[in-house]
Symmetry: D2
Subunit: 220 residues, 4 copies
Amino acid sequence: MDPYSGRRLFGRPLVVEPQATAVLVIDMLNDFCEREGVLGNPQALALCDNQNRILAAVRDKAGTVVFVNEQHRTNLAPTRAFAQQMTHTYENTWGAEVVEPLTAGEGDLSVIKRRYSGFFQSDLDLVLRDRVVRTVVLLGVLTNICVRATAHDAFFLGYNVVVPEDGVGAMSQMEQLASLYDIATHFGWVCDTSAVCAALTDGQPIENSDVTLGSRLTSV
Amino acid sequence: MDPYSGRRLFGRPLVVEPQATAVLVIDMLNDFCEREGVLGNPQALALCDNQNRILAAVRDKAGTVVFVNEQHRTNLAPTRAFAQQMTHTYENTWGAEVVEPLTAGEGDLSVIKRRYSGFFQSDLDLVLRDRVVRTVVLLGVLTNICVRATAHDAFFLGYNVVVPEDGVGAMSQMEQLASLYDIATHFGWVCDTSAVCAALTDGQPIENSDVTLGSRLTSV
Amino acid sequence: MDPYSGRRLFGRPLVVEPQATAVLVIDMLNDFCEREGVLGNPQALALCDNQNRILAAVRDKAGTVVFVNEQHRTNLAPTRAFAQQMTHTYENTWGAEVVEPLTAGEGDLSVIKRRYSGFFQSDLDLVLRDRVVRTVVLLGVLTNICVRATAHDAFFLGYNVVVPEDGVGAMSQMEQLASLYDIATHFGWVCDTSAVCAALTDGQPIENSDVTLGSRLTSV
Amino acid sequence: MDPYSGRRLFGRPLVVEPQATAVLVIDMLNDFCEREGVLGNPQALALCDNQNRILAAVRDKAGTVVFVNEQHRTNLAPTRAFAQQMTHTYENTWGAEVVEPLTAGEGDLSVIKRRYSGFFQSDLDLVLRDRVVRTVVLLGVLTNICVRATAHDAFFLGYNVVVPEDGVGAMSQMEQLASLYDIATHFGWVCDTSAVCAALTDGQPIENSDVTLGSRLTSV
């Protein structure tokens, strides 16, 4: 292990208070996850079972659920070159809707994001402050892009960040493990769905799997 | 005049490029402006004629129009005391809609805000950057609360800020003039609807009316 | 009283927890307050006695003190016209130092700001989160510019905002009262130095003086 | 190559305007790079030659140099557990100074950051706006933490992001290549020092090396 991860900023087990916890479901949208989606990667749908288990656990304990959905305007007509290349999850289209297998709860909230991070120029931080949230559990796609970018900002803002590795997906094992390793060593706790459910339901502390991730990475 | 306004940060006449200009229409919503609105102040409707003149001028020159609308979630269930007191412009209600007399253009954009400033945890700055906007013209209500708070952030972010005094309204002459004076001396240019239209249509420079405002204030 | 202030968002008395309270001393700098300062307004020095009383009270109860100081770079060489007009409180000059009559405590923090609001592109919010602060007491100059702009952002971010009117100063009575009225009706609690000290020392609830302010304003 | 990188958002060659370009030197500080530093990784010093070449080129063309330096307060006394673990680059210590081999220029600016990203609660964006910067070149350590976090925010804010792979360093080849791959496919242009110098000096367009990175990664 390198000296940086040896510092183990997130070495202590994390005890989660369910009512101060928000599960953020990131970009589980038709355009990203369904075969017919503009950038569809159907493997993402295989995450829904684990995600639904976590959603049920947090709702049961009066925690918060926020669907964090990328969405773009149809009439922005941007002058800048880059913005012209955003061609997915347009507002009011099927592609911008949450995938069908995910359950929806009555008290669930949703936040629209315009860039990879759920916090960038959105009101996500405000929603979490209004609910007095201290811990966020991140689910969704892609682990190394939108999930990770959201993990960055959540950590900077002082939230405890938890990422169950079987609740997030990337396009390759390399992208998945490399970002999980960075998150576990520098941004928060990486664990699995069962650990999140045990933390929410039984108050089980969450252990960080950073060492394990490191060894899996070197074996690739 | 006091020494601060004597510095006249905004003393130079402002030449506006219409394609780099955005008109921001702030909180012209039924709940704030119609007699039946939760916080209805029908005098605000008298501003619509001037606002429509400016909207027509900026659309005609391929500038940008953004309706900046306060809106609150119905199921936020905030823990914090303050947030529980927000009881207006709920999403998906008549109260959260733009008032009927204001014309809507095909390319108009809208941005939802959650607090007084249109920039706070919204994507307004991103929209303006994508359109390469350098000057914002502020219209709407209340001059001393949401218009002013938006003027603050627009100025901090480096936009030229223009406020036509007959396009914005407050609950009293005192609140109107005091904030216009602060805006003219510290945040941007205060003028009137005709000056904005002449600037957009004929390239007429906008003069700041700060001295005039000062003398009107002392005469109250 | 108008219907908006009648809502009395800040009508309830505020009980302050000293250890979750930060006193923010805004722009009490030589350039703004000393006769020889670039924008010197020596009346500001008359506020120091009250400010020192509040500083002593909050330090005594293990609260937080943050000096929030505007400061500009000497070698920014900005391309933008506006930024070229910032000619005060340059880094490493006498003008950028806190005025001599204010006492300094060992644990006091300081934050540099670049625009009127102490929160804009500074780490003030981060400092307050790290200290788990929930209430901010604002002192300093100018009531209607930097104090008020800081009050805006503090309120948006969810802090309780307290402004003792004899701890803040403006260039005219009009500017002072108009902004205090807006703060009391829309951003927080306006009171006086004695009320802040009693709240910190004895747990006395802070009452908002908005009605009083209103009647003083109409009598001008 | 996966479908996402196949979109090649950054597939077009980037032409850089030197006067609208800022080189950001991230965390090249004694505590991170010198053997005696708290988290010292002396391999980082091997980057200085390339970094100095780029610094010379951008200064020669009247571009902007910003040293973006992590720095922590000695008396913050944070209540939060995490903040208590920040034990490096304290203000006013040798560990917080830029490493000796890097040249300093008269017009160079510096920005203090408190978290991994140079933009988070700092005035970096304001400095870049004041200088009318459109492209940022990122140098420094660690590629997968502070450099990458800064790349995220620069991209979100609309800057063109350029990362020369021989001007940034990580603790392992895996961490280096995985983040460079993500940057090249989702955040900007990855190239090398010679390409940056040619772009600044001769107007040579910068080509993105994302495909190359992909194949190197799969061969690990």
